[in-house]
């Protein structure tokens, strides 16, 4: 039996990566997630599993290393924080456009620009609405604990390979840096098999494998896009994940993910002590977003407060979900400020109950 250990979220991702049988990690240091590559460097993954670890010359190089490794059929991942993820966008689009699996981790910091190294959730739009060019989607997982940081590594790889699509773990500086107890899965062996589409060398028994996102013929390119969209539709049908806390009798609802959802749990407790029946809806997949699951609750609700460490990004999806049937408002802090539980309760009262 594996014991609980106390670890930072970033370290948990790194350890989980080795345990998940990851073939390669390629990354470039940036606060607040450099512990991922530092932990890996100290853990000697090459000796433990044969995993390749490489500090790239930039995030641009790192994401293109992922493209190459993924195209060779390998389980590859990177981690970065907001400015670094921005730099990767062209490569992410190529990976989506070539239908390659890989795992991306964004430990979000405040922006725009160089912004701050403090936690934020201001990259929701970039992660869930595309980010790079073209009609594509990432599967986006939002962990709310160090345990989920670890668990979502293998979940992320499973989804990535199932759908041949990049998966992003969208975390933030708070979850990356905070220490909590975490239990790891046992070591998984690295896969010896390659997917049949991978570039591993053309053998006489098969046609050559080509990894590309290019097709200059508009009719074929449109058909390919339709195929991608059909895949995304299937993901939306099958892979929505969320958590509902105290929602059965709720008249009001917090919708929050990641760090904000942790704080909202405290706010919920405080509000309920005052007799306000508020529940918490925590999207775990930000894409696909649980539109239906939130819409199904509109009958019982008097109002929804979307709580995010941003100017209000996810709130747009919450509004889309309820189709105008319930009042929706946003409360958030920016620039690396984490909201306190009581200011969230105060805003529930002002913007939803009283307003």
């Amino acid at each position: 039996m594996e014991e609980f250990v106390l670890m930072k979220g970033n370290e948990a991702i790194a350890e989980a990566a080795i345990r998940a049988g990851t073939d390669g990690y390629f990354g470039y240091p940036i606060t607040p997630q450099s512990e991922v590559i530092e932990y890996l460097a100290a853990a000697k993954p090459h000796e433990r599993t044969g995993m390749v670890l490489l500090q790239a010359e930039s995030e641009v190089a790192a994401i293109n290393m992922l493209y190459g490794g993924a195209g060779a059929g390998k389980k590859v991942m990177t981690s970065s924080s907001s400015p670094g993820i921005s730099l990767m966008q062209e490569g992410i689009s190529y990976i989506a456009g070539s239908e390659l699996p890989c795992l991306l981790v964004n430990v979000v910091r405040g922006g725009p620009g160089l912004g701050t190294i403090q936690p934020s959730q201001c990259d929701y739009f970039q992660s869930t609405k595309g980010g790079g060019h073209g009609d594509y989607n990432l599967i986006v997982l939002a962990p709310a604990s160090v345990q989920e940081m670890a668990d979502f590594v293998s979940l992320g790889f499973d989804l990535a390979f199932k759908y041949r699509n990049p998966v992003m773990i969208l975390s933030d500086g708070a979850i990356g840096q905070m220490m909590e107890k975490v239990k790891f899965k046992p070591q998984q062996p690295r896969s010896k098999k390659s997917p049949d589409w991978a570039t591993t060398g053309k053998t006489p028994d098969r046609e050559r494998n080509i990894i590309t996102s290019l097709d200059l013929d508009p009719a074929r390119q449109e058909r390919f896009n339709e195929k991608l969209q059909a895949k995304y539709k299937e993901i939306c049908k099958k892979e929505v994940r969320y958590e509902k806390i105290k929602c059965d009798d709720a008249e009001y609802l917090f919708v929050a993910y990641g760090t904000s959802s942790r704080i909202c749990q405290k706010s919920m407790q405080m509000a309920r002590e005052e007799g306000i029946k508020v529940g918490l809806f925590r999207p775990i997949t930000l894409w696909p977003f649980p539109y239906n699951e939130i819409r199904e609750m509109t009958g019982q609700l008097k109002g929804i407060l979307s709580v995010e460490m941003s100017a209000g990004q996810m709130v747009e999806d919450v509004r889309l979900a309820v189709e105008g049937k319930v009042k929706v408002n946003h409360y958030g802090r920016m620039g690396g400020i984490i909201p306190t539980p009581d200011e969230i309760v105060e805003n529930l009262k002002q913007k939803i109950i009283g307003g």
Binding site: D23, G24, F26, V52, L54, A56, E57, S58, V60, A61, A62, N64, M65, L66, Y67, G68, G69, G71, A72, K74, V76, E90, G91, Y94, S98, T199, T200, G201, K202, T203, P204, R208, N209, I210, I211, T212, S213, L214
Partner: protein, 262 residues
């Protein structure tokens, strides 16, 4: 037909064959302009893969540029990299599949402008890959704009009055930078404008593939090339212009050879 001309039947007899398309080249017709160095270099690489018998062990990385469709012509597994990133793509493939032969193929805009960082760092880490660099002094694919390698005074669509050093700096000799990096094992600059040069290029690229098995570092071959369409010349004139103008600035020859192979 006169009696003394050799009949077609006679001509295609095995013993009269002087040239055959490599089995590594597919039947897809090259889309390259007549006389372009890309075609010849593709053919050379295909022949080497065939002669070395490494088709099942080879993975190529195509660039963004005129040769973006290289994977249509080579019957080997290939990946098409983002503009400039082929060395990063190849780095990961080789590290994850260390027993395979991995090569990149890039133009000068791809390798020496947008992809400069990836080029230098792959070579500096001594990635065990073969890098082929087609230097035609221009951006062929996008319609003949200035490349980092465009010669001083040379006209392009973005230097219509000729490249001016005070505005655009000097042409970059990427291979001269590469050769100074300890990570490189074999570095050569060749051309494909005459049969003799084609043979030399083939020798250099063959070495660049063979040395990969030694795991001693990056093998890098620049092929100084022409761009008849971009230079607005016919193929013969473009080759002559290249010999007269490009080669004095980009002199040919092996630039780094393994000591024991000298």
């Amino acid at each position: 037909m006169a009696d003394d001309t050799i009949s077609t039947k006679e001509l295609i007899k095995e013993e009269n064959l002087v040239y055959k398309k490599s089995k590594i080249l597919t039947d897809n017709e090259f889309h390259y302009c007549p006389g372009c160095g890309h075609s010849t270099t593709h053919r050379i690489i295909a022949e080497i893969i065939e002669e070395m018998g490494i088709q099942s062990e080879t993975i190529g990385v195509a660039p963004v540029g005129c040769s973006v469709f290289m994977y249509n012509y080579m019957d080997v597994d290939m990946q098409e990299a983002a503009h400039g990133r082929a060395p990063a793509v190849a780095t990961a493939i080789k590290r994850l599949l260390p027993e395979k032969y991995v090569f990149t193929y890039q133009g000068d805009g791809d390798l020496a402008a947008i992809g400069t960082a990836e080029t230098i760092h792959a070579c500096n880490r001594g990635e065990n890959i073969t890098m082929i660099f087609i230097n035609n002094g221009i951006y062929g694919m996008t319609g003949g704009q200035m490349a980092p390698t465009t010669l001083v005074g040379m006209k392009s669509s973005t230097t219509p009055y000729g490249r001016e050093v005070s505005l655009m700096g000097n042409p970059i000799k990427m291979t001269d930078i590469i050769v100074n990096l300890p990570g490189t094992y074999f570095v050569s600059r060749q051309s494909v404008h005459t049969p003799a040069n084609v043979r030399k290029t083939k020798k250099a690229i063959r070495k660049a593939f063979e040395y990969q098995a030694l795991n001693k570092g990056t093998c890098f071959v620049e092929v100084v090339s022409n761009c008849p369409s971009g230079w607005k010349m016919n193929p013969v004139d473009s080759n002559k212009w290249m010999a007269d103008n490009m080669l004095p600035f980009y002199p040919l020859g092996d630039m780094k050879v393994p000591e024991d192979q000298d």
